[in-house]
Point group: D2
Chain length 346, copies 4
Amino acid sequence: METAKKLCFASDYMKGAHPAVLARLVETNMEATSGYGMDPYCEEAKDLIRRACGCPGARVEFLVGGTQTNATVIDALLRPYQGVIAAQTGHIATHEAGAIEAGGHKVLPLPQHAGKLDAREVHDCLRDFAADENHEHMVMPGMVYISHPTEYGTLYTKSELQALRAVCDEYGIPLYLDGARLAYALACPQSDVTLADLAQLCDVFYIGGTKCGALFGEAVVIPKADLLSGFFTLIKQHGALLAKGRLLGLQFGALFTDSLYEKIGAPAIRAADTLRDVLAQKGYTLCFGSPTNQVFCIMENTRLEALGQHVEYSFWEKADEAHTVIRFATDWATTKEDVEALSALL
Amino acid sequence: METAKKLCFASDYMKGAHPAVLARLVETNMEATSGYGMDPYCEEAKDLIRRACGCPGARVEFLVGGTQTNATVIDALLRPYQGVIAAQTGHIATHEAGAIEAGGHKVLPLPQHAGKLDAREVHDCLRDFAADENHEHMVMPGMVYISHPTEYGTLYTKSELQALRAVCDEYGIPLYLDGARLAYALACPQSDVTLADLAQLCDVFYIGGTKCGALFGEAVVIPKADLLSGFFTLIKQHGALLAKGRLLGLQFGALFTDSLYEKIGAPAIRAADTLRDVLAQKGYTLCFGSPTNQVFCIMENTRLEALGQHVEYSFWEKADEAHTVIRFATDWATTKEDVEALSALL
Amino acid sequence: METAKKLCFASDYMKGAHPAVLARLVETNMEATSGYGMDPYCEEAKDLIRRACGCPGARVEFLVGGTQTNATVIDALLRPYQGVIAAQTGHIATHEAGAIEAGGHKVLPLPQHAGKLDAREVHDCLRDFAADENHEHMVMPGMVYISHPTEYGTLYTKSELQALRAVCDEYGIPLYLDGARLAYALACPQSDVTLADLAQLCDVFYIGGTKCGALFGEAVVIPKADLLSGFFTLIKQHGALLAKGRLLGLQFGALFTDSLYEKIGAPAIRAADTLRDVLAQKGYTLCFGSPTNQVFCIMENTRLEALGQHVEYSFWEKADEAHTVIRFATDWATTKEDVEALSALL
Amino acid sequence: METAKKLCFASDYMKGAHPAVLARLVETNMEATSGYGMDPYCEEAKDLIRRACGCPGARVEFLVGGTQTNATVIDALLRPYQGVIAAQTGHIATHEAGAIEAGGHKVLPLPQHAGKLDAREVHDCLRDFAADENHEHMVMPGMVYISHPTEYGTLYTKSELQALRAVCDEYGIPLYLDGARLAYALACPQSDVTLADLAQLCDVFYIGGTKCGALFGEAVVIPKADLLSGFFTLIKQHGALLAKGRLLGLQFGALFTDSLYEKIGAPAIRAADTLRDVLAQKGYTLCFGSPTNQVFCIMENTRLEALGQHVEYSFWEKADEAHTVIRFATDWATTKEDVEALSALL
């Protein structure tokens, strides 16, 4: 296919599964197991995830994709009069086609700082809401949504997460972390946040599979297992319950064997770091300060077409009349040769 | 795993994918393609499906699972003041955890006859609604949902479908067919309904992959391509848009190469027919008149436990104090040996 | 107006307000008070209602109409994976245009017995749900809805309500009573159920104003005041919060002064009893056993047109090819003369 | 009551109805008419409104309050994948408790300019959406919501409305105008917009009763009568259908007799103008440029408590550490004496 001949840096969901994941699907293909996640492979994978999170009592559930996971978790956490605080650039606020509102909940946007929420601003939002004499006529902020890495590839530090946790505790609302690209955070040398930290600091978070070595699948972790009533039924109601649920167990089982998930992002980070160095050397301006697998830079519009003939990249946003912010995304399968070939074109 | 050692007749989603499907996933695994179904494999599969349906102008979209497909299609077809007519045993009326109501729509149940809707009763329902002087205070029946095969394994005849079509035309509402197990209908010698018939008689139908040889996936066919506005966005909103959409294209591409889909159910039907013969010979009462891959019979409660130690089957419903209706489901991978082993236990 | 010249027995919401209610609206018209129910008249009315219910700790909220009250209360009581048990003839199941489903909840119909739910059948429904191995794929019954009087004018006895309460307690779900016509129950000599009984037996109930002497308005009583979180905001979200909330306080204040509400239905009951006697004497068959202000009887179709020229009544349902069930409704303002005039026509 | 003794400038929904409105309710109180708006008073009022709007073919429907009207109209205008553009200060975006999101729709906020949308910015939003390569993953802007007067008391000029209309036409989406305080716009000498203009420029608008002389009620005008399918049922579903619908007909009938509605706001405008003069003379800074019945000014915090002991006003927002923006609202019943008494306190 022609598209395969171009260098591929458009996103991190363009290839299939990590070989270890695929191998497990192939070798178990003709086995027969119970459906809907009631199979030994799911049990095994859940145990591995609990262990990796240092959280033996956690509840773990597998869903298929990110938007449905966000919609289902948020529906489970909120009451109908509540909304969800998110950065204005948060995925749920922009590119999920109104899935949260379709479930009846307002997304309450706050300013982003390199794609992140600021704990102080979250605090002030909650304080101002409580103080507003009309607050009973308004949507109550009922939870906080963050993504890590963010949509800009940036990372929360542990102390930033602790600050958000403290605000959530002060106002008695849950903190939910969208880890669609979590493997790339875990593999990033600048990050000081571990899976165990997430299990301590979040009420719910999900470990992304789709962009991190699986064909598809997201693992929701609920450290306090009793937090969400009726969650299985909500998963079903949201169309997020896979009939052949073992496919999720098998994939996450592979990803959490020998800590593969915590290592799988490393080639992507190395490739992105190299790319950032090359871009900087060649005089491009890097954007947003992403240390992970998403590389944003400013490109002259006049160069875009020629570049696009050899590389798939993402248009991000207009920078000015003559320039555009574009994104190169690396992934677990990006090779040194891919990066060298791209560098030669820049 | 111990569960794998039992004979497995509990359902038709317990194994992986047909070898031809799996092979395509394996051989393309490391290719890079665009996401969200914008890849050549999806294009190819859509073309194959259009051809198989004799409907070159049809729109085809791939979703992941049945409940989400039903919820998304129904949401696209109805206005907020409308509900969906279904048999009281219809999947959307019973086992989808309220997914249709979560989208704001009432399921309007009508009596089932061997799991099927009767066109005359649908007609009378629509006529009575229109005649009711309070009908503006009631939920308007805005579409008809049927499944084929039904939840009881039964099949609509072509003339039954034509009668439903005529009623829908008379009242100007769409007919939607849930083909979660469609391969088993197409492979059933008693059936006179082809894919091309469905494309002529339905406004929307879906070709089930999950239970019919794929790992997962359902192909929605919309013969009049312009029927559903905003459908892609609704798929996304419902969390039903797979990031690595090509996985669906690859699977349906394999299933519609060399008419595999129309043949894949044949072993299941043969196995089920044999099983029905054996059960009848041994004096069991068969139920519901299913000619497809689901076999229902009445079993003495006292025999259930022993049977359950060697076979996985489904509890269906209580028949009387001493008897239970149980279900054996065969699938595309059920072997002659499986059936013989089961027969020996009955 | 010509319609006013006919005898009027079509419903119990056809006239304005009881004179005592109207007088309070008129005498306070030019006063200025805070909006949204934050006024002294609402406070006073809430106190009067608490006292009438023998429940000083109850929370009372005023809404405008019945459908919005049902939708708001049910939304407040249920989680998104739950539905509401109702008689198949329950108002929420039939004539509220899908308001409950629009809020995301399935109405779970059970058979009606003279319009009432049977506690044993509710019990069995809840037991069977819990026992169903697929229950996590189904809508969980999360509350019980009853109306008193029912849509057939019938009444629950105290012991029937106690039996429902016991079932609800056994399964840990709330009991909600729709009292749109509650004044006609309280004024019915056959009834042994008081407002204080309702406050003891229901988790939430509403005292209907619209059909019982007010221009509009329903008073929701929540005996355990803390039951519903965010209820005020939900009322606003449902569009059920009247800006000039004092209008509701004034009306209910009048209705609960000198126990007017408990007496206001008496003329309607007397009129209905007379009418039932007349109908029986004239050989008509009475239906449903209503002892309240709704009188159902079977009429030959050939007589309907002539009757309709002098009386407004309600078509209820077809009895057989030659007969129809019709309804005459009396109200707090029906006079002896009205009934005599109607009797003369029968 | 003590609250009545304070000067009352907190809002425009604090008193009852205009005497002419109340008189009609009183004089018709004991008449019996059909419910749900199927009465001659509603017919008469609809005719009067059609005439006042110069739009004999318009559909007119009466609802009870503003939030429910907005939610119902928006639900009727949008498909589930669409959202509504509104100024960030629009009522639906702030003080309706998430009613629009509860119906499944995102509110898409744009910057406000004195509370108004700028047609150019609406155009750019629609153009950018269409141009965004990810737009199928985003909520489609499906309509434009404006309020007139706005939440800041400001008014659109006819040419501003024409510009919005042109943008809506270019992108094929409807324009909806919330006229909760429309009488105060019509009575404002600076305004060049008539009811007939609204009927020509809007797809749907509502004529506010609650704040403009009625006890409650809003009249939705749909110039092209066929625009909204199923609208009556949606009104019922939203709990917005008043059983004694004639109460709305009677009130709007009174308001549209002898053009009362177009004159009723005049005393409020005169009072507000006087108040603005007094405030300016006394050196207060007026805010937002409102020419209608809402007067915003900046007050030193140290003066607020003393003022509040004699006047009810609204806190609007913090201006700086030492100052607050407050609002005085006049209404159709504000007298010269009220304004003089307030002026003496400033």
